[in-house]
Each structure stands twice: as structure tokens, then as C-alpha cells.
């Protein structure tokens, strides 16, 4: 049946791909089929793996679809993996959080927020490809500006930056409209804290 076949095709592609495959890419690959068919088929495939007992399910991550193993069985899967854990230390997580929520952001801004030198952490995050240099800020000194990558989204299972856990408001700060604290080095031409356009792009 044509329909069954499409389901199988989509499954195969998603299985074979080490990276998440976006809907657009699927449509481009499967030019014999139209978008509606593909969209519907994708939903059916997704449903097949919805059972919480299954070994893996289909998730939308970093703007694409990917099979991901069930966390419930992580202990067993980990036996495949060498015992050491690629853990992220607190400095890395803090710096990542700042970059994720505040991108584009400069090193000086990061260091102001953390209160410590962040050169080492930044280099480590760059090496891990969790952050990348977006360009240079148009101010004296032309400092580099940083943002998160697609790998960052994939690592944490996020569909996009908007899916980041909401930044908790501890209490309203001095600025009554709840704006974020202006940083001393901020460009006068204000920028969004979490601009919609800042989708982490592939390389």
C-alpha cells in the first residue's frame, strides 16, 4: 500500500540519519510525495513509538525529527558506554545558561553576570561545539559575540530556543516592567534577550 510504504520510508530515513531530520528536509528528500501526505505519515510513525515501554521514541529536537532511546532504560544502555560520564560542570552549565538565554552575548557580559573570568569555560564550550561565535559586536574593541549551537539543542533534547525552561523570576527587579537588568556594556540600540530569529543553525 502506498501509505504503508511511505511510513516505512520515513522510518528508514530517520533511522539511518545520525542527525535530526527536519520536516523540510524530509519533503525535499521525498519529492514523490506531497507535504500533507508526509506530515500525516510522520504523525502516524510518531504514534507507533508513543508507548512508554518502547525502547525508543520519535522526538522533535533541534528543529528536526530523531529516534531517541527511552530514558527509562538508560542504565542498561549505559553499559555499552565506558563508565565515565561526559558531565558538564557547574561553571559550564552556568555559562551555557547565560549564553542560551541572553544570546547574542559577549564574553565581558558573561563575566559581569558570573563575577568571574570565563575564558577557560568558553573555550571548553567552543571545543565541545555547544556554543559558537556569531560574529563581532559593533562597538569599540569589536568583541566577539556568542550563541548556542544545534548540538546544544540536541544535547538537551530541545526543539528550539523557545523550548528552554522558562527563566524563573525570583522577584520583580527595580525596573517595574520586569525587564532584564541592563548590562553596563550593552549597546544602546537595545536588543532582545531571546530574539525569535536566533534559531541555532546547523554548520
Amino acid at each position: 500500500m502506498q501509505h504503508e510504504r511511505l511510513l516505512g520510508i520515513i522510518e528508514s530515513i530517520l533511522f539511518a540519519s545520525p542527525q535530526p531530520v527536519s520536516f523540510e528536509r524530509l519533503c525535499a528528500l521525498l519529492h514523490e510525495y506531497d507535504r500533507t501526505e508526509i506530515r500525516e505519515a510522520l504523525a502516524v510513525v510518531r504514534n507507533r513509538y508513543r508507548d512508554p515501554d518502547r525502547g525508543f521514541c520519535l522526538e522533535e529536537v533541534a528543529g528536526g525529527w530523531q529516534f531517541r532511546s527511552n530514558p527509562r532504560y538508560s542504565e542498561y544502555v549505559r553499559r555499552l558506554v565506558p563508565p565515565k560520564r561526559g558531565k558538564l560542570g557547574r561553571s559550564s552549565l552556568e555559562t551555557l545558561a547565560i549564553i542560551a538565554y541572553r544570546q547574542p552575548v559577549t564574553r565581558a557580559e558573561i563575566e559581569y553576570l558570573r563575577g568571574v573570568d570565563s575564558g577557560g569555560v568558553l573555550k571548553s564550550l567552543l571545543d565541545k561545539r555547544l556554543v559558537k561565535i556569531l560574529g563581532k559586536k559593533d562597538v569599540p574593541g569589536k568583541p566577539l559575540i556568542y550563541g548556542t549551537t544545534k548540538e546544544f539543542l540536541t544535547l538537551f533534547g530541545l526543539r528550539d530556543l523557545a523550548s528552554l525552561p522558562t527563566l524563573r523570576e525570583i522577584r520583580e527587579l527595580e525596573t517595574s516592567d520586569g525587564e532584564q537588568v541592563p548590562l553596563p556594556l550593552e549597546n544602546v540600540t537595545g536588543r532582545d534577550t531571546l530574539s525569535g530569529e536566533m534559531q541555532a543553525e546547523g554548520d
Binding site: F15, A16, S17, P18, Q66, F67, R68, S69, N70, P71, S74, V77, R78, L80, V81, P82, P83, K84, R85, G86, K87, L88, G89, R90, S91, S92, L93, E94, L96, A97, I98, A100, Y101, Y112, L113, R114, G115, V116, D117, G120, K128, T154, L155, F156, G157, L158, L164, P165, L167, R168, E169, I170, R171, L173, E174, Q180, V181
Partner: protein, 265 residues
């Protein structure tokens, strides 16, 4: 933490200057003090907090820890705020209507709150199911093998520093400044502690010290415990606030870790 300069087999610990990436920085220390004193962050008793902060820096120097520049910068900021607090807020500082100038603590409070937000955000990120640990994709296993690096377990260094501070304080005055007649070797101390842990995966802190001890002994023990934490051979915990600190032997490669002792919550 980066304990560069600590090599097993080196001589006495007295000469060590340990460079720690201290507790994520001065803001982290300040938040710790604010929480510890249970004060309102919007109404920080600057005098007292400054005093404790400076005391902490002294203690860190006593324990041969390098105090990074940022800590000193914040120290002077605190002192500045403290002195401004003592002055009446004049009209010149404020706006044209004669309103008093901003509370000298305000900017610091803003920074602390902002820092706290990102700390919590970092914890939220950490809690998300992580690729390569909680779940896997095609190629993830190879990826982990490639990327997995030993990142030292974050240790509550405050607990250790405070505990050792108390120990140093308990040494009678005359002994405190004696040049140690004993030359303590870090490697030996580490080995001694490991031996204790071999027979019992849970070792209370108090058993690390004999009846009498001198300053050198405290320092070499402190460095030994830190090194063991850094190597992730042990973790430390304090189940009851201000209670006994426990050293726990970590999970070994073969299987599960030891069971928790009964009084651990």
C-alpha cells in the same frame, strides 16, 4: 576545580599554593553567606556580611588557597558600599526633586539576583534528560566515547573550608604558629585516608584527626580530601546541618555505590 601543582610524592604541604577555581566566584560566596545568615537579600546587613566575607578570604589564604583577583575586587566593592551606607544620602546623589540617591547596595543586589537566576537556569538545564547519559541516538555512544572527559564532580567546597576553619580555630594558640616538626607528605596522607575508606565506604570527618594535631596536619588533610574529591574517588556530604561531615567512597566501575548510612537524609 583545578588542583594544578598537586603531585603525589611531593614533599611537605606547606609550600603548596593551590589554584582552585573558587566556588564559581565572589558572587557565589556572597550568596552563600546571605543564605547562611538567613538575611533578606533586599536588606543585606552590609557590615556583617562584609566582615564574614573578609574572614573567608583570610581563611582561604590560611589554607594555602590562591584567592583570585575577582574576590579582592568584590571585597573592595563591599567596603565601598559599607562606607557609603554610613553617610547620609544627600540630595546631590539623587535626582532634581531632592529624592535620596539609590541605596548603595542596589546594584550589588541586582547583580546577585541576576546571577541567581542563571544559577537556577543552569540547574534546570542540568535536570533535562541528557543525550549520552539519559538517552541515546544513533552515533551517540561513539560520541560519548569521543567526548567523555573527566570533569571533576562539583564538591561543596564551602563545607570543607568551613570545617577545616573550625579545626584550625581549635588548635591552641601556641601550637598554631609552630613550624611543623613533622613534614607531612600529601601522598602519604591520601594513602592513609584511602586505607580508612577501604574498610568502610563511609568515613566520618572526625576520624581523620587524632587527639592532637597541628596546623600542617590540618592543611595536608584538607589538600588530601580535596584531591580525592577532584579525582572523584570520594564525595562528601553533611546530612544534618552543622553536623558531621561524611566522606563517601564513590561508585567503582563494577557496579553500584555503597548504601547510604541511616542518618543521612
Amino acid at each position: 576545580m583545578d588542583l594544578t601543582g598537586i603531585l603525589p610524592g611531593d614533599d611537605s604541604s606547606h609550600g603548596y599554593s593551590v589554584r582552585l577555581e573558587l566556588f564559581e566566584g565572589p558572587l557565589d560566596l556572597l550568596l552563600h553567606l546571605i543564605r547562611k545568615n538567613e538575611v533578606d537579600i533586599y536588606n543585606i546587613p552590609i557590615s556583617e556580611i562584609t566582615r564574614q566575607y573578609l574572614e573567608y578570604l583570610d581563611l582561604m589564604k590560611e589554607l594555602n588557597l590562591d584567592v583570585a583577583g575577582e574576590f579582592l575586587v568584590l571585597a573592595s566593592t563591599l567596603l565601598q558600599i559599607k562606607s557609603r551606607m554610613l553617610l547620609p544620602r544627600t540630595e546631590e546623589e539623587g535626582d532634581e526633586e531632592g529624592e535620596p540617591g539609590e541605596d548603595p547596595r542596589a546594584e550589588l543586589v541586582r547583580r546577585l539576583i541576576e546571577y541567581q537566576r542563571y544559577r537556577e537556569a543552569a540547574a534546570d538545564l542540568d535536570a533535562l534528560p541528557r543525550l549520552g547519559w539519559d538517552l541515546f541516538t544513533r552515533g551517540a555512544v561513539e560520541e560519548v566515547e569521543r567526548q567523555g572527559e573527566q570533569i571533576p564532580e562539583e564538591v561543596d567546597v564551602y563545607l570543607l573550608v568551613e570545617a577545616f576553619g573550625r579545626l584550625l580555630a581549635s588548635i591552641p594558640e601556641e601550637k598554631l604558629h609552630e613550624v611543623g616538626s613533622e613534614q607531612y607528605r600529601l601522598a602519604e596522607r591520601i594513602a592513609e585516608i584511602m586505607t580508612l575508606l577501604e574498610s568502610d565506604p563511609f568515613v566520618p570527618f572526625s576520624t581523620l584527626f587524632p587527639e592532637t594535631f597541628d596546623r600542617g596536619y590540618v592543611i595536608v588533610t584538607f589538600l588530601a580530601v580535596l584531591e580525592l574529591c577532584r579525582l572523584r574517588v570520594i564525595t562528601i556530604s553533611q546530612p544534618l546541618p552543622f553536623g558531621e561531615i561524611w566522606l563517601k567512597r564513590s561508585v567503582d566501575c563494577a557496579g553500584k555505590g555503597p548504601e547510604e548510612p541511616h542518618d543521612a537524609t
